[in-house]
């Protein structure tokens, strides 16, 4: 990477000469566009050379498994162990989802990823009026421990790692998972997995919040503390840029807003009296794998370097594990088209390749039919096979960080790193992520980029194959997965049966203890676990906390 002054000046001279011939060519025939923008809104130059990539190799890149981790968090990366192929799945009842998990594990999935329905994500039981029409639709309906027992039936929890996309009520679902483990005789320190538990991006981009900011942050730090003692291998949070990007942000903002949120959690835990090295090693991330292959590779690399810097230099963490950025990723759902759905297989392959070349630790690949409905079993298989082809046939997993040293990749890595850090500092000046969300700054930045994208598509500035160019007439797609509308009734029947069978006096007592704990300031996790084990429903537990803490009121902005 390092060039002598003489070499650089020779390159500069040659480049000036080359520019003359470029100008001549352009005078004869202009380029396809006046300015080229990446899918993440970075302006892209015609050519990158050593002039763009000055800097010290050791300071900027280093070695895999070593600070600043630009080249990867582990010393051997995919030569040691491939990324976890983790397919996000869940729909209908626990019985149906349990079947899908077993199917995925039988086909070579290496970890589970649970999708919950919206009532579960927002702390309502299936019989709540707000749950009407939503039960079992975008994920599995879980009302109580009884459902969780079925969901993981015959899946040994000491053998799989399980990721759960659950935020506001993450503590409740984690407690249910622990209770199932206990029934299986699996000790808590053998449990591996992740809860998303990232409430700040719910306020700004994803929408499944329940409680106001303060009690939500308390729940999160309580989980950090509880898990560091009892569930030490559990990733207590998955700080997510995925949804920020899906909501329309630029690539730089995906990193900036995610890390601003991450810093807010670290500060909250430190404020609650925890030592940074006690919890920072269990912080994990979740990024988008978007369309622009080389930009995405640069984004993952910049993210690792930046988080390492933030933890080491800003928070003064001592343990190298605290500096390590480990991430799950998912291909960009919002880039799938309802037109010519088979083209989505190609898009997903490019996006997945970006995540792998970027050095992701785990990956979900979307299915071709997801712009139309929940994915069918057949299209999920193709999506999983896409990862397997990349892993075993493409060769990209056989050497570490293979695109390092490309002038373009290194220049773009620097650009994303610098611009994201600038934006983070701007947010810090506003008073941090909580404040920036409260005043609507983050939401409005995302919205601006989303609208710009739409305008670019409509003006033809951005081409989406099959949508605004190369369209065809095509028949209605068939074979889409549909959730049986009787799921809600099945869940309500199960709830009624549970309530008639369980020890209702014990449930009331556990909920009352939970209410007392919510009013005080001790760790609330043990109380949630006790309520869960008494078969209190998720709605009862969250309802109790709603009564004590109130609900978040979103500022509606346009």
């Amino acid at each position: 990477m390092s060039y002598s002054k003489e070499e650089l000046s020779a390159i500069q001279q040659a480049m000036d000469k080359w520019q003359v011939s470029v100008d001549k060519t352009i005078a004869k025939q202009g380029e396809r566009k006046e300015t080229f923008y990446s899918s993440g809104f970075n302006e892209i130059d015609r050519l990158y050379t050593p002039l763009d990539t000055f800097g010290d190799y050791m300071e900027k890149l280093g070695f895999p498994g070593e600070y600043p981790f630009t080249r990867g968090p582990q010393p051997t990366m995919y030569r040691g162990k491939l990324w976890t192929m983790r397919m996000y799945a869940g729909f209908s009842t626990a019985e149906e989802s349990n079947k899908r998990y077993k199917y995925l594990l039988a086909n070579g999935s290496s970890g589970l990823s649970v999708a919950f329905d919206l009532p579960t994500q927002i702390g309502y039981d299936s019989d709540h009026p707000m749950s009407e029409g939503e039960v079992g639709k975008v994920g599995v309906a879980i009302d109580s421990l009884a459902d969780m027992e079925i969901l993981f039936d015959s899946i040994p929890l000491d053998k799989v790692s399980t990721s759960m996309t659950i935020n506001a009520p993450a503590a409740v679902l984690l407690a249910m998972y622990m209770a199932v483990a206990e029934q299986q005789g699996v000790p808590f320190d053998k449990l591996r997995g992740t809860i998303q538990n990232d409430i700040l991006k719910e306020y700004s981009a994803r929408g499944t919040y329940i409680f106001p900011v303060q009690p939500s942050m308390r729940l999160i730090t309580n989980i950090f503390e509880f898990c560091s003692e009892h569930v030490p291998q559990w990733n207590t949070i998955s700080i997510s840029g995925y949804h920020i990007r899906e909501a329309g942000s630029t690539a730089v903002d995906e990193i900036a807003f995610t890390f601003a949120n991450g810093m807010a959690y670290v500060k909250a835990a430190i404020k609650a009296g925890m030592d940074v090295d006690k919890f920072a090693g269990r912080l994990s991330f979740f990024l988008n794998a978007h369309n622009d292959l080389l930009e995405e590779v640069s984004k993952f690399r910049a993210a690792r370097r930046l988080w390492g810097y933030i933890m080491k230099e800003y928070f003064k963490a001592k343990d190298p594990r605290s500096w390590m950025f480990r991430t799950h990723s998912q291909t960009a759902g919002s880039m799938l088209t309802a037109q010519q759905v088979n083209n989505n297989i190609v898009r997903v392959c490019i996006q997945a390749l970006a995540a792998v070349l970027g050095g992701t630790q785990s990956l979900h690949t979307n299915s071709r039919d997801e712009a139309l409905a929940l994915p069918s079993e057949e299209s999920v298989m193709t999506a999983l096979r896409t990862q397997q082809v990349i892993a075993y046939e493409s060769g990209v997993a056989d050497t570490i960080d293979p695109l390092a040293g490309s002038y373009y990749i290194e220049a773009l890595t620097d650009k994303i790193y610098n611009e994201a850090w600038e934006k983070i500092q701007k947010i810090e000046e506003m008073g941090g992520a909580e404040k920036a969300i409260e005043i609507g700054y983050i939401q409005s930045e995302i919205q601006k980029a989303a609208y710009q994208w739409q305008k670019d598509v409509e003006s033809g500035e951005r081409i989406i194959v099959g949508v605004n160019k190369f369209q065809v007439q095509e028949p209605e797609p068939s074979g889409l997965l549909r959730v049986d509308p009787s799921v809600q009734k099945t869940q309500i029947d199960k709830l009624n049966e549970l309530k008639s069978k369980r020890d209702n006096a014990a449930v009331a007592a556990r909920l009352d203890e939970l209410r007392q704990a919510a009013r005080g300031d001790e760790n609330i996790m043990p109380y949630i676990l006790n309520a869960v084990k008494a078969y209190a429903t998720e709605g009862e537990i969250c309802g109790t906390l709603r009564e004590e803490w109130g609900e978040y009121v979103a500022a509606v902005s346009l």
Binding site: M130, G133, T208, T337, Q447, A450, Q454, A554
Partner: protein, 134 residues
């Protein structure tokens, strides 16, 4: 007399948090000169109809990506009918399988715009189909 501007309520029924589409279409409507009211997330059919009444809108545009459109969208049109507000143009958009569209149209949702539709198409549709109010 100057013609009154078209008033549109952009609404998110149910628990779905995906509001990118709702916000994009709301801005496109606004740029087209409509007056736009956006409900925010987690609206019940009742609250949508109440807002529509309060704001005296010409059109309700619902965005749904959670799969509960067959339950919630027809409930909105049913409530409008009960309140004799069915002169309001009701349209929808989002992740909605093609085979559901005839069912929604039968229930009084005038048009469904699926992913990939240019916002200009939606704008034109609203302009051409709202009932002129005095």
């Amino acid at each position: 007399m100057t013609q009154r501007r078209i008033r549109v309520l952009v609404a998110k029924p149910g628990l779905d948090g995906h509001d990118r589409g709702a916000k994009v279409i709301a801005q496109a409507f606004r740029d087209a000169g409509f007056e736009v009211i956006y409900t925010g997330l987690r609206q019940t059919p009742e609250s949508i109809v109440a807002t529509a009444e309060q704001e005296d809108v010409d059109c309700i545009a619902m965005s749904m990506l959670s799969g509960s459109h067959l339950t919630l969208m027809p409930k909105v049109t049913r409530l409008l009918k009960e309140k004799e507000m069915d002169d309001i143009l009701v349209i929808g958009g989002g992740v909605i399988p093609g085979e559901d569209i005839p069912l929604l149209k039968e229930a009084g949702i005038a048009e469904i715009f699926t992913p990939g539709t240019p916002t200009s198409t939606c704008v034109e549709y609203v302009k051409n189909n709202v009932t002129e109010k005095a």
